[in-house]
């Protein structure tokens, strides 16, 4: 009897609590003052197009208030309602996924209410976003680095974009705090990956990942230094275009961007995966020119790259790269003639980092006032060239700060890129939807579980690349490959010996990319 009474009392209390909660919600909707502007939220998730498989866009409401209420809804599916005293709005992952799954291609609305200290609610203008009809590749890989050339703590990470899971692929702690950089994939497939490593202890291997195995490769020949910079996979998966760079860091005394990088020499080579040979072709490794940032057309017939006259360091401000291409027959190994696709003069700047959309329709690149190392430029804009019409234009999503290191998703509907637009210094990964006409929509910041995550992060993101699956090898496999390379190459039988500079500090060799 007593138990029954107790249960009844509990149920009654619960019911009261429920009614009270509902009353509160009703009060929000019925008795709120309308404000004719959207609420200030951070990160800026207003008017953006988002992938249906993206993790919840948690955000901070930057309006003074004692209480916060957000309703997220669309045409179909259950709306998500969040009450919070704090301005941090954390959206439940499961309900978010259901809502997005039910509304591909539709608008997604955020109603934001803020309660003042006198319990009066204000309702801000509804924030409208759009759920795209095409998903994004579920993983993003990037480096997180301190803004320095001292690599005390550098990691190569992968992030599951469908939730907030981030894992370390390789941390430089595993190979004597060397440097790893410039990862590239064959058609967004991590089962075919190239990653460069530089270590004063273990040398400068290029790590090749194929069939879930890692192999350290030496690209050093009589003509090449073995310090590979950037790489691009030929669509046939048997060939890599690689660069051989000799960078020097410059320090500006006045301008906003303190650091600058000058390429004392840069040439392109091919690396054949079947024969493990480096192929040098004079047409793409001219002494009087620097050639960098290779990119294969998706049909594999052309090698695109950026090229500028090789100038003395004092004329660093005159380094302006043209976009070039050369025909190459991967079967016969025959080269065509060099062609200028787009001159630096035509864009009044230096063209860098060309990247083809998967359907070969668009070529995305960036343009900075000068340099073949755009991350250190005060400004660098994204451009898109329509390969059918040959027309190019600056993308409206470009900011006043450098937007660099862009990559396409495997379905060609999304681009990921680095941007310093938030604060001018720390590069962060952004995503933008690119429709069939090549129109890029307002970009959004990589969402984090803690919406204030970036506020206290002293690391910069670097080279965000979208991939279709997680990287199939572990950090220990990668580091063991680096270490084994060091053991092989330091032995007397090896034809490769670390150069004199490599015995010096890492600091002098590697630069932020």
């Amino acid at each position: 009897m007593r138990t029954t009474a107790s249960s009844t009392l509990t149920l009654a209390l619960l019911a009261c609590a429920l009614v009270f909660t509902q009353c509160d919600k009703t009060a929000v909707i019925d008795a709120s003052r309308s404000i004719d502007r959207p609420a200030k939220i951070r990160p800026d998730y207003c008017g953006v197009v988002i992938p249906p498989n993206i993790a919840p866009l948690n955000f901070l409401i930057e309006e003074n208030g004692a209480g916060h209420y957000v309703k997220i809804y669309s045409k179909d599916g259950d709306p998500i309602e969040i009450h919070s005293r704090k301005p941090d709005i954390e959206i439940p992952v499961d309900r978010w996924k259901k809502l997005l799954d039910a509304n591909h291609g539709r608008k997604l609305y955020f109603d934001v209410y803020v309660k003042d200290s006198e319990n009066n609610w204000s309702r801000f203008e509804t924030i409208e976003n759009t759920v795209a009809d095409a998903g994004i590749d579920p993983f993003l890989t990037y480096r997180k680095i301190m803004i320095s050339v001292i690599w005390n703590d550098m990691g190569f990470y992968q992030r599951n974009l469908e939730n907030y899971e981030e894992s370390v692929v390789l941390h430089n702690r595993l190979f004597s705090y060397g440097c790893m950089h410039c990862h590239s994939y064959l058609n967004n497939d991590p089962h075919h990956m190239a990653l460069q490593a530089r270590s004063s202890t273990y040398g400068t291997p290029m790590l090749l990942v194929e069939n879930n195995q890692v192999e350290p490769i030496s690209t050093k020949t009589e003509l090449t230094s073995g310090k590979t910079g950037f790489s691009a996979w030929h669509p046939n998966g048997k060939l890599l275009a690689i660069t051989d760079n000799k960078f020097q860091m410059l320090i500006h005394t006045k301008v906003q961007e303190v650091r600058d990088v000058f390429d004392l020499a840069c040439d392109l080579d091919l690396y054949r995966l079947d024969t493990r040979e480096v192929i040098r072709e004079n047409k793409i490794s001219k002494i009087d020119r620097m050639e960098t940032f290779p990119e294969w057309s998706r049909d594999g017939r052309y090698l695109y790259f950026c090229s500028a006259p090789q100038l003395p360091k004092e004329r660093y401000r005159e380094v302006r790269c043209d976009l070039m291409r050369i025909r190459y027959d991967a079967e016969s190994g025959e080269w065509g003639e060099l062609e200028t696709v787009l001159s630096a003069k035509a864009v009044d700047g230096s063209i860098n980092q060309p990247r083809f959309s998967p359907d070969d329709r668009f070529l995305l690149f960036n343009v900075s006032p000068y340099s073949d190392f755009p991350i250190h430029q005060a400004q660098c804009d994204l451009y898109l060239m329509d390969m059918e019409s040959g027309e190019h234009r600056k993308l409206s999503i470009s900011s006043k700060r450098p937007d660099t290191w862009h990559s396409w998703s495997s379905n060609g509907r999304w681009i990921a890129f680095n941007s310093k637009r938030l604060d001018g210094r720390f590069s962060r990964p952004f995503f933008s939807y690119v429709d069939a006409n090549g129109v890029a929509h307002k970009p959004f910041l990589l969402p984090q579980q803690n919406p204030a995550y970036y506020d206290s992060l002293a690391w910069a993101y670097n080279i965000p690349e979208l991939i279709k699956a997680p990287i199939p090898v572990t950090g220990s496999q990668l580091s063991e490959a680096i270490i084994s390379y060091g053991k092989q190459t330091s032995g007397p039988a090896s034809s490769w010996k670390p150069g004199a500079a490599e015995t010096e500090s890492n600091d002098e060799l590697q630069y932020e990319r």
Binding site: I147, I150, W151, D423, N450, L457, A458
Partner: protein, 656 residues
């Protein structure tokens, strides 16, 4: 601290022991707090170098991938953060020393049946030795303390069945390997000795030894992504950062202290058991215990052997001669005092205090410590600190030759001059370089060095603050805001960061801040990728006093007297009331050697300066040999430009 006994006599003994321990650790604490000053370690690069610093906000320890012993390492990093307050640091060090000592006592109780308890103070004394030499082996100490704690729990678990004890061993070993890998082998060896020689359970012992080889593989496979080699290498104490450290010390050097605790416990355990077996008295006791064991089996008594050990310990305590206790206490105190007297690295203390005071901008204290450092311990970095202190206290051109000023130690560009330093030492200097460049008006170089400081030390709040200020000077408020938001996460710098953020909100340009405006006025007008010179900075702003004094000081260093003469007029730009001493002496030399009197622009040379040069010449003539006159001249003129001009070095009046 010690187990409370039951009888009155034992209670009195226990009280005496308690108060002795209290006295011992109070002295320990006070010495560390008042003399060694753990704040010095907080600002020391060496400590940060070996530990991941506590990074507030995003990107802290979770950024670092898991590896065996990461927990202890991170805990040590967090504890080091507390060293910001000297009392907190001293308290932590004392607590760790006590924990090690207590664990050792428990370990010896079990292994030697209550004998050899005096050895329990050895780890505490070793900890004191470490810190008196300014080594911060906190990660190792914490690991060993955890190992001892788990060993204590293992031996006190009252588990009779060997199989269950073996399972407990597996669990504890896995915990140690995961959290405090440094203590893994000592823990395994202690357990193995305990099973073999105390419990005489050789099967458990064998199982423990075999499983000890397998546990690293299993734990690593389940929890870490590390290479096969690292699975076992991390067990060994192989921190390379320790080895090149402290070349000044011969006996109490880093490696010895680093490895001591590692090997102490297994050796102490072995020695305890050896002692136990070789003591007739103990042998009898063992026989009695064995007999009791037999009886116990028959009577199914639950009284454990450990209880008997406790009882025997209590008996020993009760029967002990009080004078023995007093004697032990006196001997211990003598050892403690000897340790303090023999091991304290005063030189390192001076170094660290110079660094600390320099960071705190306590210039008089920097100069005081420098005077006590001794010329032979000076290097380019401390020269940089001293010159900066001299400049900020308005004494650079008066007193610079009271300190060593070798010609190849460029006054401010330490980076180029410090190639002889280790990478660690150079990285420790990035923030100082940043500060100096900032003060000179070369804010871009200052920013570059501050980023390097932040990356080199993995986290450094002062570097963050410097970067924020630089970006305020450069009128980049959004970057400054981002940096201050990061700094705001730091408990120790929260208020400073918030204050700057508030000011940025009110006035993004900081137009009312005189210091910011002053620095802005010093920045070069034109961009260049070439290293700016002091001359260029002066051309940009003729009131850049620091650039002027450093330029003049560099002329003095290079003994370019003519350049000094050519710059007399500039003294008016800085409203010097009289000629600085070094200037005066340079001009006297100029007049003496050329016979010309330069235009002094209203300044006067004191007759004393002329007399002193004459006196110096007389002494030189008397000896008729520069080297023969060195000692006498060094005593009388060691802090003058005259002496430097003759011999090319200075600071000879400091302690050598």
């Amino acid at each position: 601290m010690v187990d409370a006994p039951n009888t009155d006599a034992a209670r009195d003994g226990w009280r005496a022991t308690f108060f002795f321990h209290l006295f011992f650790y109070l002295l320990f604490f006070l010495y560390i707090f008042l003399y060694l000053d753990p704040r010095l370690l907080h600002c020391s690069i060496m400590s940060y170098w070996r530990l991941p610093p506590y990074v507030p906000g995003s990107g802290g320890f979770e950024q670092i991938p898991g590896f065996p012993g990461k927990t202890a390492m991170c805990a040590a990093g967090v504890l080091l953060y507390c060293f910001h307050y000297s009392w907190a640091g001293a308290l932590i060090i004392t607590a760790v020393a006590w924990l090690l000592s207590w664990g050792t006592g428990q370990c010896l109780d079990v292994m030697s049946d209550g004998r050899l308890r005096a050895l329990r103070f050895i780890p505490a004394i070793v900890v004191l030795l470490q810190y008196s030499r300014y080594y911060h082996f906190m990660m190792e100490n914490l690991s060993i303390a955890l190992g001892l704690l788990l060993f204590y729990l293992y031996t006190r678990a009252c588990i009779r069945r060997g199989a269950l004890r073996f399972i407990l061993f597996l669990f504890f070993s896995a915990v140690i390997y995961y959290a405090a890998v440094f203590a893994y082998l000592p823990f395994v060896m202690l357990c193995a000795l305990y099973e073999l020689l105390v419990k005489r359970a050789w099967l458990v012992d064998l199982g423990a030894l075999i499983s000890a080889a397998l546990i690293p593989i299993v734990v690593s496979a389940l929890l870490f992504d590390i290479s096969a080699a690292e699975v076992y290498l991390c067990i060994l104490p192989n921190d390379p950062a320790v080895l090149p450290y402290d070349p000044l010390s011969v006996y109490f050097n880093g490696p010895v202290l680093y490895y001591f605790l590692y090997v102490f416990f297994p050796i102490a355990g072995l020695a305890s058991v050896y002692w136990r077996y070789n003591s007739d008295k103990l042998q009898n006791r063992f026989r009695r215990v064995d007999a009791d064991k037999g009886k116990a089996r028959k009577k199914k008594s639950r009284k454990s052997k450990d209880d008997k050990i406790q009882q025997s310990k209590a008996d020993t305590s009760q029967n002990a001669n009080p004078s023995h206790g007093m004697l032990s206490a006196i001997i211990l105190l003598i050892i403690l005092i000897c340790v303090v007297l023999l091991s304290t690295n005063h030189q390192e203390r001076h170094y660290l205090r110079i660094r600390f005071y320099s960071q705190q901008r306590m210039w008089n204290e920097v100069l005081y410590e420098a005077r006590n450092l001794g010329t032979k311990y000076f290097n380019v970095c401390y020269c940089h600190d001293v010159n900066r202190a001299l400049y900020h206290s308005g004494r650079l051109l008066d007193e610079m030759f009271a300190y060593p000023q070798p010609i190849d130690w460029c006054l401010y560009h330490v980076e180029a001059a410090s190639r002889s330093l280790s990478a660690m030492e150079r990285r420790a200097r990035f923030l100082d370089l940043s500060e100096t460049y900032y003060e000179l008006g070369r804010v871009n170089e200052a920013e570059n060095f501050a980023w390097d400081a932040l990356a080199g030390l993995k986290y450094h709040p002062q570097a963050l603050k410097r970067l924020a200020l630089i970006n305020i000077v450069k009128r980049q408020p959004e970057t400054a805001r981002a940096l201050l938001r990061i700094l705001r996460e730091d408990f120790l710098y929260r208020d400073q960061a918030q204050e700057l953020l508030d000011r940025l909100e009110e006035d993004p340009d900081f137009s009312s801040d005189e210091e910011i405006q002053r620095i802005r006025s010093l920045i070069p007008d034109d961009d260049s990728i070439n290293e700016g010179s002091l001359t260029e900075l002066l051309a940009q702003n003729k009131h850049n006093r620091m650039a002027f004094e450093y330029l003049m000081a560099s002329y003095f260093q290079r003994r370019e007297v003519l350049e000094i003469v050519n710059n007399i007029e500039r003294l008016r730009d800085f409203q010097y009331a009289t000629l600085p001493r070094a200037f005066e002496e340079a001009l006297v030399i100029y007049m003496q050697t050329t016979g010309q009197r330069p235009d002094l622009y209203g300044y006067e040379i004191s007759p004393e300066s002329i007399t002193r040069l004459q006196e110096l010449i007389n002494i030189l003539n008397k000896h008729n040999d520069k080297q023969a006159a060195l000692t006498e001249l060094a005593d009388k003129f060691g802090d003058t430009y005259y002496f430097y001009n003759v011999y090319g070095f200075s600071g000879s009046q400091l302690i050598r």
